[in-house]
Symmetry: C2
Subunit: 354 residues, 2 copies
Amino acid sequence: MTPRARLEAAIAAAAAADAAAAGAARRALDGKTKPRGSLGRLEELACRIAGIRASAAPGRLEPAVVVAAADHGVAVEGVSAYPQEVTAQMLGTFAGGGAAVCVLARQAGARLIVVDVGVREPIDHPAVLDRRIRAGTANIAREPAMTRGEAEEALAAGIELADGLVDDGVGVIALGEMGIANTTAASALTAVLLDADPAAVCGRGTGIDDQRLSHKIAVVRRALGRTPVDPTDPVGAIAAVGGLEIAALAGVTLGAGARRTPVLVDGFITAAAALAATRLCPSCGDALIAAHRSPEPGHGAILAALGLEPLLDLRLRLGEGTGATLALPLIAAALAVLSEMATFDEAGVTDAGA
Amino acid sequence: MTPRARLEAAIAAAAAADAAAAGAARRALDGKTKPRGSLGRLEELACRIAGIRASAAPGRLEPAVVVAAADHGVAVEGVSAYPQEVTAQMLGTFAGGGAAVCVLARQAGARLIVVDVGVREPIDHPAVLDRRIRAGTANIAREPAMTRGEAEEALAAGIELADGLVDDGVGVIALGEMGIANTTAASALTAVLLDADPAAVCGRGTGIDDQRLSHKIAVVRRALGRTPVDPTDPVGAIAAVGGLEIAALAGVTLGAGARRTPVLVDGFITAAAALAATRLCPSCGDALIAAHRSPEPGHGAILAALGLEPLLDLRLRLGEGTGATLALPLIAAALAVLSEMATFDEAGVTDAGA
């Protein structure tokens, strides 16, 4: 299958949330031994997942964390607090199991899939999946990040990855990423897709100062000013100003959506990927669950556009999928409440009603 | 040991957080492969627990959830949406494993201890610990909830329970409660201890309407107006307007604090208990971790007084310890980050510094 055919197939397969299943889950929760709605967002989460799965009783979902890594040519503009070689170094740390997301994935009982979509210097490690499209993007301040064909390849790689995980029994996918300077690419892509001013969607990433933030905004302006980018063409926008890992994660989102598999969105980068996916296929937005509120202003703009409210706000600003992974126990808890709690009838408890 | 002697021993044994251990944990986290502080509240949590445990490497902590149940005479005033017999019915559901907190404790891998401190009609079940002081409190709108001696007995029962759990290997205790009308008692106790107006600390509990809320405030005013309650005498305040499960949970907090064991505070009722414990022994406040933000206004007032910020805000309004139990995976995650993450040196990753 060509990358474009895979993309079109995923979009065609995507299904909106099943309102009947969500409604049945709601009724089941209303019969449990608790005041109605008193488990708040846990109940909403259970209903949302029931809708995504098209099942009033989704049971336990096997979790996976997908961390996509790639380099960004725009790093040469000095937009990040870290040098570009950190991407490959961190890929090694992911492979070795010592990175934050590795620790948190183990805690959550989730398998961790680390995929290299285009780190500048590849590392050879059995724990890193090689889905390299090219050795990092070009510098978006001067030229397109990648070709349209490469964007399609990266999207297709993500779709195929999600598809394989679902075939292998995975029922919920948490998104993660690594790529020095990728908040700059995510800011540019978000500015295009939301028609927002760069200043409104650029933040401090992993910790840049005021001066570097002004510079970052100027760099994004340059990227957007090079040539007109059509906001109604998400693949074109990714090719123009996006990132390889962002494209792959948009693909994972599309692939998961096509298989009725909930997707946990982490911070800003993964949200930009999810946003691009919903622009390619609006109904896959139904599969999204926002895990953690990022301090990045662009993240807030995307959440508002997608109508999502994060489950957690722990002031994380690391990325990697750490926020999404930390929300996995909440998914498990919500589904356990739906499947395991006693009803008023079973328990012989007096129900005060709504 | 008399109840009073046990209370005095716990207060004498309480130790403040160990700043050196917390500082050592901070330095260890700063050396991990991530921008400093980028795991936000997870890092703060790890440092706080290091301080409580007086250990820079607390390791994994075995979790327990203690749900204390009791009845409240003030229920006859019609302050709750539920009839009083629901307390005993829910105790049965806790024992049977079908209540929300049972499901969530299983999810979190925590043992669940259900203790009857004074439900009106006792239930005979091996899964319910009998620490009954009396068959529910008296109606605080008309008379003291209990005698001073009974308050001391309930406090001592909680201390003994915490002590036994720690002896048995438990390293973190989540507080939970059940007791129809117990938000009324918690409101009255909070109003006394914080010198607050009843209207500022009364809320909708598990879901009463405006009219019943006004009535509840009036009932609390009557309880406080019966006879002067000395806010500097927490045991006297508990006896005057508190609850048996509130007293027992204050005891659990004191007992845990005396053993350097972190205590996860759930919603309003458990926060009122924790507040009373800190008034008996200020240093045990160091052992407190706020798990979930309750919509009850009195909860916000207590958090502000204790300087605590909850980890979660999932719009839960059930109690039982559900919020505290949902935060247990965050505790485990924070400690795993501290013990398992690679350092920059180990991983060969370039550190950009602070």
